[in-house]
Each structure stands twice: as structure tokens, then as C-alpha cells.
Amino acid sequence: MSLRFQRLLLIFLTLVILLSAVLLILYNTRENVSYFYTPSEINKSDMIINKIIRIGGFVENDSFKKISSSSFKFRITDEKASILVTFNGILPDLFREGQGAVIEGTFDNNVFNATNVFAKHDENYMPASIKEGLRDTGYWNKKYK
């Protein structure tokens, strides 16, 4: 097997291997490197007992209740399923109803005890004045994802 043939073989093998590797990874990665799960994923899987997990979604409209100055109750939803969450601590500035959020904690009988709450903002940037203007004229109907 001459050195030139070894080289050709190597090039061929490399291309084949790389192609199959990319295909393998593209077919399989999607659901696996999640920083968080969505509420509908939680309901159908069995990984929840006594394990710290993260759930990401949106704070459901009209679900936020302040129990005391530092303890809150709200629901996280992805429009298919929703989860009741309790939290003791300081909420980030951006946290509000309709806003995206990621919460970290454990399940306790269908109630999720959050230990950390992160707010998630979307990729849209818009001046506050324009939003006011839109709302005044009744054109503000942007749906959060």
C-alpha cells in the first residue's frame, strides 16, 4: 500500500466519516442540550421526582400573586401545559406577566418549588415611546412567543 494510496484512502475515509458524523449529530441533538425543559415536556416525562431541574416558559397572564414581600406564586406556561410555581426570594427586574422566564427548583406534589428565577428576554428591541404610541392607537397586539 503506497503512501499515495494511504493518503487517498485517508481523504476518502475522512469525508465519509465526517458526513456520517454530521448527519448523526444533526438527527439527534435537538432535544438534548437543553438548558431547560418546557412545561409540556415535563408533564409527559418521569424525571421529576426530587431532582433539581429547570423549566422555561412564559409567566401566565393574571396568574401572578404576591403572598408576602418576598414570596410569590405564579404559573409558567408554554400554551400547551402550565405549572404552578412558588418562589421565595428576589425577582429579577424583567420579571412580569407575559414575560419569558426560566425557573430552577424541585417538584413537590404538582407544585414547583423554585429556588432561582431567571427572566428571559426576547430578541426584539423597541423604544419604549413607540410601544406607548402603539398601545394608544390600539395597534399593540404583539403576541409573546
Binding site: 500500500m1 503512501l3 456520517s20 439527534n28 438534548n32 424525571m47
Partner: protein, 223 residues
């Protein structure tokens, strides 16, 4: 046919070489188990905690021990000129790195793989996941061999800063660790995780002969 014979006798040579230094491999395994004991003692008697961090511990130690043995990868053969002799015997540098990677996997990583089930028992890792874990360790350690080949060939001419090799292995092994630790935390989707690990292995395996081969050629040229 002649080439196949040469490959077989390349491994015969590697076998003889590694068996003459079998105490090194055994020391590596002793290091591995001692570290496992130290983890168990320092975490304390809480079996829950031990079993949750168990996989992470085994992975960290596997990574550490395989970086410990990096120096043997090419350095000896490079310094006493054997690498050159193997090349002159009709192997291209890229081919040498593939052969060497498998040899490292066979003679350094496989003894580890055999000792991992024992470590898993010591660390209270649930039995039902053992098969998947074992597969992931198998794929992962071959990936580590490829990464070790790349980093140690890069470091052949580097006399000053040997830790650099370990750093290079570690930075590229981050994705493997992320995916393989995912196995213990998940109840389903084992197959897709294993597939991803296999995909990473294939990518590293395809890059390895080119990167390492170039580095070997470079080092021999400038030695």
C-alpha cells in the same frame, strides 16, 4: 498482504512495549481507585449524593488519568527515533496516528474500562443504567485517545510546558462530558445521546490523522 502483516507486527511491537511497562498501567489504575476512595471518604456516608455525583467523578478521573499517560503517547518513540523508522517502513504519518490511537485505546484505556464497573458499584450507580454508561465510557475513552493523540503530537517539541497538552485535551472534551453525564440524569432518549457521542467520536476520529500527522511531520522535520 505485506502491509497487513506490517500492521499486525506494529501491534506486536506495541504489545511488547506496553507489557514491559505494565506497572505504569497498573499504577494508573491504582491512582484511579485511590481517587475514587478519596472522593467517597470526602463526600461522607450519604449514598444518595455519592450516586448522583458518581458518574461525574468517574468521568473526571478518566479524563485525569488519560492525561497522565499522555507523555507516553508519542514522546518516547519520537525521542528514540522509532517514529521515523516506522514511517520509513511504509506508513504515512496519518496512518501512524490512527494505529497509535488504537494502540493507546487498547493498552491504556481498555484496562480502565474493565475497572469501571467496579468503580460504579463502589459509587452506588444504579445497575439498570450500567450498560448505557459502559457504552458511553467506551465511546468517550476512544474519543479521549484521539484527543490525546492530537494534543501530545502538538506538544512533541514543547519541552517547557507539558501541562498544555492536558489543557488541550480537556477543552475539547467538554462536549463529551456534557452529553455523557446527561445519560444519568435522563430517563429516556439514551439512544440519541449515545448517537451524539458516537457522532462526536467520528468527528474527532476524522480530524485526528490530519492534525496529528501534520504535527508529527513538523516535529520530525524540525528536530
Amino acid at each position: 498482504m505485506k502491509f497487513l502483516k506490517k500492521i499486525i507486527f506494529f501491534y506486536y511491537r506495541e504489545y511488547k512495549l506496553n507489557m514491559s511497562g505494565v506497572q505504569d498501567i497498573l499504577t494508573n489504575i491504582v491512582f484511579f481507585f485511590l481517587s475514587v476512595f478519596i472522593f467517597i471518604f470526602s463526600i461522607g456516608p450519604d449514598k444518595e449524593t455519592i450516586s448522583t455525583v458518581g458518574v461525574a467523578i468517574v468521568w473526571t478521573l478518566l479524563l485525569l488519568s488519560s492525561t497522565l499517560s499522555l507523555r507516553k503517547f508519542y514522546q518516547d518513540d519520537f525521542e528514540n527515533g522509532n517514529l521515523l523508522i516506522i514511517h520509513l517502513n511504509g506508513f504515512s504519518f496519518g496512518f501512524i496516528t490512527i494505529l497509535k490511537t488504537f494502540s493507546h485505546f487498547l493498552f491504556v484505556q481498555v484496562p480502565f474500562l474493565l475497572s469501571i464497573p467496579i468503580a460504579c458499584i463502589l459509587l452506588n450507580i444504579p445497575n439498570d443504567k450500567l450498560l448505557y454508561l459502559f457504552t458511553s465510557f467506551g465511546i468517550g475513552s476512544l474519543t479521549l485517545s484521539c484527543l490525546g493523540s492530537i494534543s501530545s503530537s502538538m506538544n512533541l517539541m514543547n519541552q517547557r510546558n507539558f501541562l498544555l497538552g492536558s489543557v488541550i485535551v480537556m477543552i475539547f472534551s467538554v462536549p463529551i462530558i456534557i452529553f455523557s453525564v446527561g445519560i444519568i440524569n435522563m430517563a429516556q432518549n439514551f439512544n440519541s445521546l449515545i448517537n451524539i457521542l458516537f457522532g462526536i467520536l467520528l468527528i474527532v476520529f476524522a480530524i485526528n490523522p490530519w492534525a496529528s500527522g501534520l504535527c508529527l511531520k513538523l516535529s520530525i522535520e524540525n528536530n
